[in-house]
Symmetry: C2
Subunit: 298 residues, 2 copies
């Protein structure tokens, strides 16, 4: 069998983003952690980590992490049956990647009951909806909420429904830039707000209006910050309807062109052999997202 | 003089987090970008990039990026006087690192007027308040809001005031775990919410109550998600007062132990030779943070 002390060292360095913190978590000296990584590399015959800040797994490192993640989930099932195997008696942790907008809206309400009942702690990792899947592939997370449907090898994907976005701005922004009403062609020349380089919602919205090419924009990689900038009149941008019910009702934000929502489907990716806890959460999510996300039948 | 085509390639690869996007932004082929980086490395005699995903600058790479950032700010001043030098006629961009909680609360309202008046677009980078300064040192940003006072070489820091945090939880969470009132010693054994490995606010709060050592916690690296999880009863945690005025007024969140705020001072770090735009923003922030952040005199 593999030497799991070495693999646990690799997982700790990646998850804790450094050797020092990994050593703290493992209760080892930093040089002991370093030794374990070197020994692991000697065994597999190639580097498992890129020594950057933070350290990142190599291709082979990612495959090993993926394996560690799956073994951990299987161990949990066994611990339920053979409690003496459990080393710490600490609550279980589930590491899950999800997009910032889900975390800023429906996730907490949908999952709180599950976590309280199961006594589970969450390690949440925020990733843009189009790139979260790479964390699954890297074996760093047990599951992931993202916009891509196709599962990675060894995993399944489940359609959860869609988040509905609306293109919004403050009344002050619209009055300043569009005193005579919004013209689609001019939208590309007034500031938009974009979450980050992977956020193509504003591009898709403009393309839907027949506006192609680049447009001026602020970059704001925070869901809450995005809404604050929109309310403060920095620019227009696509915001989940769920996140701004109060702002829409109170008039702090208005739709720039009425009746043009953009629905982004979300999928739940989870390991096929991910153990009973993950299967329970998957069943729970199927129910709990009803009424929170838009389904094709709605 | 330096060859700025090469330096611009380095800056684009780091800022765009990859060769492919850097090539798009520069309007070059990916191999041309790669060639420029190699030529730069041949000139300086050592690697400027760690070829990880995303690529990260080496020590010498960081010094070069720092230089590029300062040159760009100086160019901006000159372009105001010699408009013909301006290549694109695009609005200026300011790249600024700040902590998620500032972005989720006071930042937008404090800076909107400045951006609208100056026609400036923001590239915001979210970094934990204790680590944002590394982006300054890396030369990747023009300025930074963080909790560390000491400026990096070539920069100045300005005290903006403090964010006031309160330890909050939902009434349901408190009723479930503390039916007879909150006991400090038991706080470490019920779930807390922690923003990420660099967030030590919960540790400091517990230490202030005389509770040392580790405690169970969820990890949630999103300001808005943090509040949503707290409202949904996942755990207790320290939240900026500014962010939850409505939740406190409406009773969705309550202070776990009354009258124990934690103030986190924030500093504005900016390059000493950062040009007129940055100096104007610095003056603007001094006024605009009044009433938004807590000052010693308040």
């Amino acid at each position: 069998m593999f030497d799991y002390k070495l693999l646990a060292a690799l997982a700790a360095v990646v998850e804790q983003a450094g050797f020092e913190r990994a050593a703290q978590v493992l209760g080892l000296s930093q040089s002991a952690v370093s030794q374990r990584i070197k020994l692991l590399e000697a065994r597999v015959g190639q580097p498992v980590l890129v020594r950057a800040t933070p350290p990142t797994p190599t291709e082979i490192g990612r495959r090993l992490l993926n394996h560690v993640q799956q073994v951990r989930l299987l161990e949990r099932d066994l611990q339920g049956q053979v409690p003496a195997l459990d080393e710490g008696g600490l609550p279980e942790r589930l590491r899950i990647a999800l997009n910032a907008d889900s975390l800023a809206t429906w996730w907490g309400g949908a999952v709180s009951e599950f976590c309280a009942e199961q006594g589970v702690l969450l390690d949440l990792v925020v990733e843009d909806q189009d790139v979260g899947l790479k964390r699954m592939r890297a074996g760093e997370v047990a599951a992931c909420v993202c916009a891509a449907e196709r599962p990675v090898a060894g995993a399944r994907s489940l359609a959860l429904g869609a988040m509905r976005y609306r293109a919004l701005a403050s009344p002050g922004f619209l009055a300043r830039h569009f005193p005579d009403g919004v013209e689609a062609q001019r939208l590309a020349r007034v500031p938009a707000i974009v979450f980050g380089p992977d956020d193509l919602l504003q591009h898709r919205y403009l393309a839907g209006l027949g506006v192609e090419g680049s447009f001026v924009h602020h970059l704001c990689p925070s869901s809450e910050g995005f809404v604050r900038l929109a309310c403060a009149g920095f620019g227009w941008g696509l915001v989940p309807e769920l996140q701004v019910e109060r702002e829409l009702a109170g008039g702090a934000l208005v739709e720039i062109l009425p009746g043009r929502p953009l629905d982004v489907p979300l999928y739940w990716h989870h390991w096929r052999n991910g153990g009973e806890l993950l299967a329970t959460l998957t069943r729970h999510l199927q129910r709990a997202t009803l009424g929170r996300l838009v389904r094709p039948a709605d």
